[in-house]
Structures are given as C-alpha cells and as structure tokens.
C-alpha cells in the first residue's frame, strides 16, 4: 500500500507486517575494537601509589589486586598491599633520633575484601578516533591492617576509574580510605589512612 506503518489490517482481518528500514549508523571506526571479554571474569594485577598514614608520614604503597566480575554492575575484589611508615608526628616533635616504634613495627601491611559497583560505565574518548571502554566505580568492604605490632579490623571504602585498553588489559586509578580504631595513643581513636594508587590489571 505504500505506507511505512508496521502493520495494516485488511478487511478480512489478516495483518500485513511490513519491514521497517533502519538506517545503519556509520560504525567503521568502532568495529576495530569490538570487545571480547565474554568469557573473562577474573582480573589480576598490581598497583602502586601513596598511602597517607594518620599520625605518621605519607609513604609509597605497593600491592596486588584480584577481582571477580560477577555481573555487568558488581564485582568482588581483594587487595594485598604494603607500605613502610616514616617517623610518627610524636617522634618528629621529640627530635634527636627519639623512636617510639621499632623498624619492624613501621611496616604497614593490609588485605581487604571489597564489593565493587560499576556505577557509571561508558566510554572515554581520548582523541577523535580513539575511544576506550571505561567505568567509574565505587568499592566498600573490610579487611585487616597489621601495623605497630597490632592487627586491626579495617573498613575500606572508595572510588575508582577503570579504562579498558585492550580486551585483556586495563588501567585503573583508585582513591580509598582505610579506617580502623587505633590503640597506639592512650585514647582509642579512629584513624583514616588515605590511599591514592594507579594500577594495571589483566583479564583472563
């Protein structure tokens, strides 16, 4: 009949379905990086950055991370990291080589178990013709921090940004707060240790 409506009823009750022509977008530049992470759930990698240890100095932190991507939105992650604290504020004030902690006790090591949520997935456009799949995510969970000769139950929460460079390779930036109750000073107080890291991980 010449209309482009999807269905027409003739008088005898039969329905005529006409195909709709859909104009295809020019997708040449996107074919090049069709994602293939269909069978890949595990992600393993490393990270490095700065950890600001409350009452101490800011120190370099290194670690390993592993993630399991459960759904498009949720993932489970575990991190294992370590840093070496410098002088505490009290030691700096005392001066003259006064030390309240042994060198062993200055080692700050932690692990945590986190749930992550990919809140803003999408793409990032580096140049006119170069785009990568990316996601901004939130993480929260808990774990253990061993520092100053003690083991502390630590809550961790933060956010991060992941860019998928290849099917199997991602780069990510994370900002986290590791918080625990400290008994180092006579009064119990809650410490916040802020960590800012960059990491590289592989999907497989």
């Amino acid at each position: 009949m010449g209309f482009s409506a999807p269905a027409l009823s003739a008088d005898d009750g039969s329905v005529d379905i006409k195909p709709i022509v859909v104009v295809e977008p020019d997708n040449k530049q996107r074919e090049a990086y069709e994602a293939q992470i269909d069978t890949e759930f595990f992600e393993i990698g490393g990270y490095a950055g700065i950890l600001s240890i409350e009452d101490f100095t800011s120190s370099a932190v290194y670690g390993l991370k592993a993630s399991f991507h459960a759904t498009e939105d949720f993932f489970l992650q575990t991190n294992l990291g370590q840093a070496e604290a410098g002088l505490s504020y009290a030691e700096q004030q005392a001066g003259d080589g006064v030390r309240f902690l042994s060198d062993d006790d200055r080692k700050y090591t932690y692990y945590n178990l986190l749930v992550g949520y990919n809140i803003f997935p999408g793409e990032t456009f580096v140049t006119q013709s170069l785009a990568f799949n990316s996601a901004f995510y939130l993480v929260a969970g808990a774990g253990n921090t061993e520092f100053a000769g003690d083991k502390h139950f630590t809550l961790t929460y933060g956010s991060g940004y992941r860019i998928i460079l290849q099917d199997w390779l991602t780069i990510n930036v994370d900002f986290r707060d590791h918080t625990f109750e400290s008994e180092i000073t006579p009064k119990k107080k809650r410490n916040h240790n802020l960590e800012f890291t960059t990491g590289v991980t592989a999907f497989f």
């Binding site: 859909v22 575990t78 990316s134 139950f153």
Partner: protein
Amino acid sequence: MLLATLLQAQPATDDSWLERFLSSYASSDKPQHELVRLSVIDSFIELHSGPGRGYPIIHTIEQGDEVNVYKRRGNWYLVSDRRLRQGWVTQEKLARTIAPTGLPAALPDVRHGDYLAQKFRVGFSLGKQDDDETAQVMVGFRLLSFASLEIEGGQIFADDIEGYSYGGNLLIEPIQSLSFTPFISHGYGKQVFQQKETLNVGRNNHYDSDYRFTGAGINFYIGLNFVMRGEYRKMHISGDNGSTSNSAWRIGFSSFF
C-alpha cells in the same frame, strides 16, 4: 512481555532450550552444533559491542531478520545476523523474538535456581561474633538445587587476642523462585586464638577450640551471578578453656561461575 509466561518454543534439535543455553554458557569456546535461531519481531534490536550498557551500539537487526544466538554472559547474549555481524543484546530485548515455528521464544528465566550449570561459588563475608569483628573468605559448591556445601576460613578481631577460624558448612535453601530466599545452615570448624604480641608478658598463650553452629539467613540474588547474604548463627564453642555459646551475624557477597 513477561518472560515467565512465554510458551515453550520448538528448538531446532531435540535438546531443550534450557540445556542449549546452559551448554553454550558452560563451554563458550566450543562451536555450537546447532545454533539457536530466532526471528526479530520488534521493529529492530540493537547490538552492543560488549556485554554491558557502557559498550556502544554497533549494529541493529531489523524486524523479520533472523539471529543466531551463540553464548550468554550474565543477562547479555552474543548474537549475529545472517550476514554474521555480531553483537551483544540484553535478555529483555532478545525475548522479543519468535522461534521458527512462530511461537514466542522461551529464554531461560531470571530465576537463579535454573542455573544448575553454575555450581561453584566464591565470596567473602564480614560480621561480628559477640563483640569481635570477623572477616571470612568462602568457596562453595552446589550439590543439589536446594543444598550447597561451603568451606570458609578467616580472621577474628578482638581487643586482647587475635584469632583465625576455618570450617565447613551446609546450606539448605528450599525456595528458589524468588529474589529473596531464606536458608538454614549448619557447620563445624575450628577457631585458634592467640594473645596479642603487644600484651605478651612472656608466655605465648594459645587457645584451640572447636565450634559448631546452626544458623539461618536470607539470600538476595542480584543479576544472575551475584548474591548478597545476611546470616545469623548460634555458635557453640568448646575448647581448652571450657565451652561457651555465642551468636554471630554476618553479611556476605558471592558470585557464581
């Protein structure tokens, strides 16, 4: 269109729809002998370049065109049209297709109980045992549709002592058709405590104890692969320095594969 009420379609072979989808998911690297073919009845369906809403749309498939379904990841399906242009489409959009017989396609429902091919589960839980915080890693295996076995190990955080625990649990989950499902659990294990080094006055005090517990909780299934759990346990601990009972609760996150 409700997925749950769609009629069973006639597949191209004698295998049921469910078996075909499950086998394609479990062995995603092997080519399919008989591909599932469906016809699009919506005006068009959009294909993304990857299994997520953040991936761009790269193709569209028109009404009346046939699609082949290759594999599933979460609730996204990898399909291609007759010109073999591939892309990912959500289960919701793919449901708007019909089988060659003209009946609507019956795709696996979103109920977690159906995915028996996903037998393993890995996750962690955080909680409290009396006043002490706990953190545990867990690996589970689904024995039957309503029963699973888990082994777990982790840490117990207390003021004066530090502890580790490990054990095995059995979970019974009778109802599977809802997103929130209750379960009961029972388990045995060991807890090892040690006095903290900072308080050490010479002797290294070390306590070993056995525990058993009975618990109950609720599983909340998000997506097809992800479950959040809230559990309460009544624990009975017996060891070197007598026996005691206490309560523990935890919140857990785990994923199937």
